[in-house]
């Protein structure tokens, strides 16, 4: 079996701000054609990771590769293939919307002008309007359009659904799916809205306290985690072969989210399939020391083989 092409790869990637690490020892491999969700609490290093992948920021340690090239080299070859949406949605506020598009057209040989115009027309954003006078949501849409119209092979979107209303979120997810299907693009997007992501994403990267906990196919992540519930004051012994991610207990009930390699059958526990949201929250709640190396990674799994 030939191995899937890799769109984005990081190894030991780290970024230090002063004495504090914004991201540390981050290693994962994102295959092409995926829509990957980058989830984690504020300050987990999501934006830092995306900025380094876009070549805006330099890593302090390790390296990041986009289609095999380092984005730090700032070559046209890499720039052409990456569409980056910054968290701040920077736009030239004094430009009119159509001037913003002209900017994109002049600076990107792969620019799809009719797609950009169509997208904005659909959203009722007037092309003659000044960017600075648009609403926050409309500005976010213009910024997104700047990314999408470039038709990049890798879309790096920092909080793309923030500032969008539910209808616009739905629309964006649709557009992303279409670009993945039509252009075989790869998408890495960060978000807080985990429930929105679950419907469209097929890959998940969980980042917390500057570390990567999970980076894998959504299906695998869902299949390899179980929520064990015991309705007793004192938790019974855990079944063999499970790795605890986090435990929450109340007077009457103990919930343990575990990572499993094979089906769990234990009469002492009620075994449930957790949602992505529950898994994410479990990792975010888990003490750093126990989970820093607990996440399953693709390389850990038998049969996947080395690259």
């Amino acid at each position: 079996m030939s191995e899937a092409a890799v769109a984005l790869e990081t190894s030991g990637l780290g970024k230090r701000y002063g004495r504090k690490w914004g991201l540390e020892d981050c290693s994962f491999r994102l295959p092409t054609g995926r829509i990957a969700a980058l989830v984690g609490p504020n300050g987990a290093g999501k934006s830092t990771l995306l900025r380094m992948a876009a070549g805006i920021t330099r890593p302090t340690a390790g390296e990041v590769r986009v289609f095999g090239h380092s984005p730090q080299e700032q070559t046209v070859e890499v720039l052409r293939q990456v569409g980056y949406l910054d968290q701040e949605r920077p736009l030239y506020r004094s430009f009119r919307v159509e001037e913003m598009l002209r900017f994109g057209r002049k600076l990107n040989p792969t620019w799809d002008d009719s797609a950009a115009r169509g997208y904005l027309a659909e959203l009722d954003i007037p092309p003659g309007g000044k960017v600075g006078n648009l609403s926050v949501g409309q500005q976010a849409q213009v910024a997104l359009t700047m990314c999408l119209a470039k038709r990049p092979a890798l879309l790096l979107l920092d909080e793309p659904v923030a500032a969008l209303d539910p209808v616009a979120r739905e629309g964006l997810m649709h557009v992303l799916l279409r670009s993945v299907v039509d252009d075989n693009a790869t998408v890495l997007l960060s978000s807080h809205a985990i429930s929105d992501l679950a419907t469209v994403c097929d890959y998940v990267i969980i980042l917390s306290a500057s570390h990567v906990h999970v980076a894998d196919d959504l299906d695998y992540v869902l299949a390899s985690h179980r929520l064990l519930v015991a309705s007793s004051e004192e938790a019974p012994q855990l079944p063999p072969g499970v790795v605890v991610v986090s435990t929450t207990s109340s007077e009457r009930q103990t919930n343990v989210l575990v990572r499993v390699e094979q089906p769990v059958v234990d009469p002492a526990w009620q075994v449930m399939e957790p949602t992505l949201e529950e898994i994410v929250i479990a990792y975010l709640r888990a003490p750093k020391s126990t989970t820093a190396t607990a996440g399953p990674t693709r390389a850990d799994r038998p049969g996947e083989g080395a690259r």
Partner: protein
């Protein structure tokens, strides 16, 4: 990218052109007023030695230099202000608004991005300054500033101002790229520009071209429109002070020979006598007026070279951007 640069900085470009045009009108009007007063002064045979010989003469005398110092100051400040105003926002303006993150994720390398922006900005700077330079020349002409090689006039004549403006522009760009804040880049740029300009004027310019020495009578040390760098009594045959001595080393000996005593009305000996007895002559070290254009060229080259170094620094800072 040329269009984009123009569009991004359009308001500051247009404002600079507007203010410069207003300055041009001001300089023309005040220059004509000065010229008119000067014409009256000469046509009525007024004398510079006795300007108060008639009411007409004294009012014309006062009028001919009415705007002299203010215009002189404005002409001196212009290259710095113009260059910094246009230069500082080139990189710092984008960083402050985070639009560099947008620009740097388009299909254009940072080097090309910054070089195009600098190219357009430098062209605007040089264009404005280049258009004003002939007008400043005209103004120095009508106010009878014939001794152009003197720093007072040299700095606002010829084409050296274009080089000053380009230096100020690159200083603004580089400081903006390093400091990343418009306000702080300005605050640092003004004293730096002044320090470089005055430092160059006082310590480098006098020795840029080899100076000439002329021996003159101390009673009538005429030097025409040349720039006098040093004066003093030197041993006969020397055109520069002997080793271990300065231009003023012999003035003590001259003074004691002259025999001035406190309260004395007259010297004991004549200066000619003292020079002969002490075997000294009075020497002027000058930069002749004929060196004007050569000096303009050399000094412009120096400022452009510094601007080039600042350009390299800027490209490096932009390429190695970390945060």
């Amino acid at each position: 990218m040329i269009w984009a640069t123009w569009r991004m900085h359009r308001s500051i470009f247009l404002a600079s052109i507007g203010v410069s045009a207003a300055f041009a009108i001001w300089l023309t009007v005040t220059g004509l007023i000065d010229e008119h007063a000067w014409t009256i002064f000469t046509s009525h045979h007024c004398s510079l030695n006795y300007p108060g010989s008639s009411v007409l003469c004294s009012s014309a005398y006062a009028g001919r230099g009415l705007f002299s110092s203010i215009n002189s100051a404005l002409c001196n400040a212009l290259p710095a202000v113009l260059g910094l105003v246009l230069g500082v926002p080139i990189v710092a303006g984008e960083i402050q608004q985070n639009t560099n993150r947008l620009a740097w994720s388009q299909t254009i390398t940072r080097t090309r991005w910054v070089l195009t922006k600098i190219g357009v900005g430098a062209l605007v700077t040089a264009g404005i300054m280049g258009a004003l330079a002939p007008l400043m020349w005209w103004w120095t002409n009508v106010t009878e500033r014939n001794d152009r090689i003197l720093p007072l006039n040299f700095d606002i004549s010829g084409f050296v101002d274009v080089a000053y403006a380009l230096f100020a522009f690159m200083l603004g760009v580089a400081l903006g790229a390093v400091i990343r804040r418009i306000g702080w880049a300005f605050a640092a740029g003004i004293p730096l520009f002044v320090a470089v300009r005055l430092g160059e004027r006082d310590y480098i310019r006098p020795s840029l071209l080899s100076a000439t020495s002329v021996s003159v009578s101390p009673l009538n040390p005429g030097h025409g429109t040349d720039w006098v760098l040093n004066t003093g009594f030197l041993p006969l045959g020397d055109s520069t002070p002997p080793p271990g001595q300065t231009w003023s080393s012999s003035s003590q000996a001259i003074n004691s020979c002259l025999g001035y005593s406190p309260g004395a009305q007259k010297a004991t000996h004549s200066i000619t006598y003292c020079q002969k007895v002490l075997r000294l002559h009075y020497e002027l070290q000058i930069q002749p007026a004929s060196h004007f254009w050569a000096l303009q060229a050399v000094e412009s080259a120096i400022f452009l070279a510094v601007a080039g170094a600042l350009l390299a620094l800027t490209v490096l800072a932009v390429r190695r951007w970390r945060t």
